[in-house]
């Protein structure tokens, strides 16, 4: 996956910063397929809800709309910054991957427990396919869960395998 890191304009990020939003959206849309835009937030002391709403939610919406897979990750946000992002993305029904200082990936935003658990399983295993999900689930439920995580920008497809007896199964990796 192609990765681009972004340094943000300052340590105090507030208000509806349309200039930064437009610059980042332009850059994001110009990235090749299978790209990851990493917002490095380690140095950010402060981010209000409006900044998170205007910039991060806009990028996540662009990620969902993109025909080619492009993803957004926030790296090392503080507790306060995470809380602003969580609140802003939840309003839009979006989700955002957060990676902490130890490299652990979690999801910000509203996500059902079953989808959250599936994402965590993908993170723990490195890759996931329908075969890895509990046998108590129907094949269509397994498939739908993975597709929903892909739609939310939390998993991406890396390959497929042929199933015994015909058909194929997609293999995913977690966005992080």
């Amino acid at each position: 996956m192609h990765e681009e890191h972004v340094a943000l304009p300052g340590t105090i990020l507030g208000g509806r910063d349309a200039t930064t939003r437009d610059e980042l959206l332009t850059r994001f849309r110009a990235m090749p397929a299978n790209s990851l835009l990493v917002l490095d937030l380690e140095a950010v002391q402060f981010m209000d809800y409006s900044w998170a709403d205007e910039i991060i939610a806009s990028l996540l919406k662009a990620s969902r709309k993109a025909k080619a897979p492009r993803f957004v990750v926030v790296r090392q946000p503080s507790v306060s910054v995470s809380e602003s992002i969580e609140a802003a993305v939840a309003i839009h029904g979006l989700t955002c991957v957060k990676v902490d200082s130890e490299g652990k990936a979690t999801v910000l935003g509203n996500l059902s427990p079953s989808l959250r658990q599936t994402y965590e399983m993908a993170v723990a295993r490195g890759q996931i396919s329908a075969q890895d999900l509990p046998d108590t689930l129907s094949p269509s439920t397994k498939s739908n869960r993975l597709k929903e995580l892909e739609r939310r920008g939390l998993l991406y497809r890396v390959g497929e395998e042929v199933i015994d007896g015909g058909g194929r199964r997609f293999i995913y990796e977690p966005v992080r």
């Binding site: 300052g10 105090i12 507030g14 208000g15 509806r16 910063d17 349309a18 939003r21 002391q45 402060f46 209000d48 809800y49 409006s50 998170a52 709403d53 205007e54 939610a57 806009s58 507790v79 306060s80 602003s84 609140a87 802003a88 309003i91 839009h92």
Partner: protein, 282 residues
């Protein structure tokens, strides 16, 4: 016109209603002398102080000048000095009963500051964080939550009001020893209903209270973004068991942790005024 606060009364939301009711009746030109006599005021809060500045500006626009007779009581005068209110009033009002210069030395975490641009907001937020964390020793979580509230309110002035605003805050301790923050942000712009009407023409038919409640719930006048600002402010106030008052047009909406928003009809406030108070969590 003369508004006199009686003994024991404070410059706060109820007394401001009287002031605003008087101002609503001012003639368009040559309004004559408007005096606010605070000599008997027992206390002043940021909400009342913000109204006073906006009122002075309104009187000035009417071709007159507001005369403010300052409190005789030491405590409200100290609050006015600490919050930088007198500096904010001087360009737009005539001050009488001024305290001695020697008593002007108080630390101010958020002195009354004019908000005209995003850089003003950045300055205010940076100053607030520095003073409350480094000089007053507030814990970082509380500092950042307060800063978020201030940032949202000030950026709303820049983004939505179409006018200049003011923000000021007061820090203190309640009778249980818990530190509290009281702050107010005000502007004399187009108001919340006016702002929402830009995107939703039907908002022109709403009552001001309905427009305020919808904005608190996340309705935004902007095409981008989802109204996270006031909604986030409300969440912080509820989390801290605080109180939030939003006044715009003819209505005032009160929000607290344990109640649904309640709308009160009052005198016309041309613009938007937000008053918040909450105590530190730890």
């Amino acid at each position: 016109m003369r508004l006199v606060l009686t003994s024991g009364e404070g410059l706060n939301a109820p007394s401001c209603d009287r002031l605003l009711a008087h101002l609503a009746d001012l003639p368009a030109r040559d309004a004559g002398e408007v005096t606010v006599d605070l000599r008997s005021a027992a206390f002043v809060d940021p909400y009342g102080m913000a109204v006073l500045v906006m009122a002075a500006r309104q009187v000035q626009r009417h071709g007159s000048r507001l005369i403010c007779v300052l409190p005789g009581n030491d405590r409200p005068v100290q609050t006015m000095l600490q919050t930088g209110l007198l500096d904010a009033l001087r360009p737009v009002a005539e001050l009488r009963n001024l305290p001695k210069e020697s008593s002007h030395k108080f630390p101010s975490p958020l002195p009354a500051t004019a908000i005209r641009s995003r850089s003003d907001v950045q300055t205010v937020v940076g100053h607030l964080v520095d003073v409350t964390r480094d000089r007053l020793g507030y814990n970082m979580g509380d500092v950042l939550d307060t800063a978020k509230v201030v940032s949202e309110l000030c950026n709303n002035i820049v983004d939505h009001s179409g006018a200049e605003g003011i923000v000021l805050a007061q820090l203190g301790s309640d009778r249980h020893g818990a530190r509290y923050v009281a702050l107010a942000a005000a502007d004399d712009g187009i108001g919340i209903r006016g702002s929402l009407t830009r995107r939703y023409p039907e908002a022109g038919q709403w009552q001001d209270g309905e427009a305020i409640e919808r904005a608190l719930g996340g309705l935004s006048s902007r095409e981008t973004g989802g109204g996270a600002g006031l909604r986030g402010v409300t969440a912080v106030v509820r989390r801290y068991q605080g109180r939030l008052t939003v006044r715009s047009g003819s209505d005032r909406v009160f929000v607290s942790a344990d109640r649904t928003p309640k709308t009160h009809r009052g005198a016309l406030f041309p613009g938007t005024l937000v008053g918040i108070s909450f105590s530190q969590r730890s």
